[in-house]
Symmetry: D2
Subunit: 156 residues, 4 copies
């Protein structure tokens, strides 16, 4: 199958994740790009996502939730795109389960648009490890994270 | 000052944290109890907090956000209630900054009411470490976490 | 099989782990007890394990190494002792692989004898999560940790 | 002061850390380079550092211990080299205290010489956050980590 076609299938999957998971919709997560090594999403600042009423910065929980999602997307993208049979894998693969998540908050979450990147560091048959980064529109690194995920297959 | 009076002052502070921080209000966090060793909050399941449309369980990001909040509350409760001069400390203490957060997801977040406990493990002059636990109304342990926080004082 | 007999088999396994792994022998780890929920080891202070020549306290790396070991032991103990067929499981089970480890250092590692406990929080078919605690002989809690492990079976 | 001279002073400090801390000497840690953004050390495989007698790979605890050390070195290098008065800072700065450490083991620790890099992500007046990476001589990424450290000054 053509690479572009494979990516389209994964994009469609992620679009369903954005739309069908209420909390992701509330966060306003939008997939920007996907490849075999990971995924990129962004979200826009809104009053509802504020964590500190004095500074107006992003809530730490918004950042951890976004890292949880983009890490899982990265793990799934790697699992699907490394296979020849993307179609079949997409049929079998269920959303990943997060085993654990670490977030390091480096700077206050100030900005208007935030970009979260998930990089797959390890992807075995059952367990994946990903790193995450959050930048604002000015390119400042606000937070980093690490996640461990279990792959769930319909037939296992 | 009487102990009960001191607790009332901290409760009032936490009530402001629940009410004034939009994302905490969205999560629906309600303080249940506070003492020198930590804090307990609960939240009720709602459609908006779902993370998996097939199972209807709590979003992992709701759990990480709740842990971030209750860990910070525990750290603040310890900082205030260990002092003789609660009044003065409440004047000086600003909301804690989360340095890092780890969440371990043990079981799917199934339930109607979730109780999150934050326990202060270490509270120095500038840095606190807390552990967190999430149970559902059936008493099942769903997730545990660990957080590191910096104390911010108005005069430092 | 009798419970005591099953425990004996696991003790024998752990004894081999202590004796056959050079770095564990260097640390001086000694298994104290095992049950289905976890494992306890101790180690004695020696000059070689010092991390700070001024204070003479335990090196943070000794603590993280000990947590890695006792968490893996806890995960293995749970995997073996939950089965009816301990013999068969012991034949198939290979040492766990650590996926990730978090250590929180609460107090300087002062003391003469240190006891590390590993508690199994979650043990699925492939992945286990454990919590760890380190106390000195005076009962002070010096460090806590969390570990994620993969079970390896000879036939998988 | 000349940059090279400043680096020499920090190198001297790190040399003392390698030599005076027994457990670091046992690990065989050797500083390779230092700059304001971090530090690089290496260690050579030896029988004593083996963690799995069947595979002969590096013990997970050697990796976590090495990350603890190189992360602390990175935090110290940043604290010293960002100041104009390196001399004075070196006088005041005590070894950092590790608050917490996370290690993600990506691949079995196979190799002959291992290089550990610590990168300073955040360095405030009291708290630093660093990331760590371990590669073998073939350039394979074996493990990553994150550490949080407190700066200790003689006069605080």
């Amino acid at each position: 199958m053509e690479d572009e076609q494979r990516l389209d299938q994964v994009r469609e999957l992620f679009h369903r994740i954005e739309e069908l998971i209420p909390f992701n919709r509330y966060l306003g997560l939008q997939t920007e790009s996907i490849d075999q090594d990971g995924a990129v999403v962004h979200l826009d600042m809104r009053g509802e996502l504020i964590g500190n009423f004095q500074d107006g910065v992003l809530h730490g929980g918004v950042i951890s939730a976004t890292f949880d999602v983009v890490g899982g997307m990265a793990a799934m993208a790697t699992a699907v795109l490394r296979e020849d049979s993307v179609d079949e894998t997409l049929q079998r693969l269920r959303p990943t389960s997060t085993v654990d998540l670490r977030v390091d908050y480096l700077r206050p979450g100030a900005g208007k648009r935030f970009t979260a990147r998930g990089f797959t560091l390890r992807a075995g048959s059952r367990v994946a490890v990903t790193r995450m980064e959050l930048h604002n529109e000015g390119g400042e690194l606000l937070a980093v994270g690490t996640g461990t995920y279990i792959y769930n297959y319909a037939d296992q």
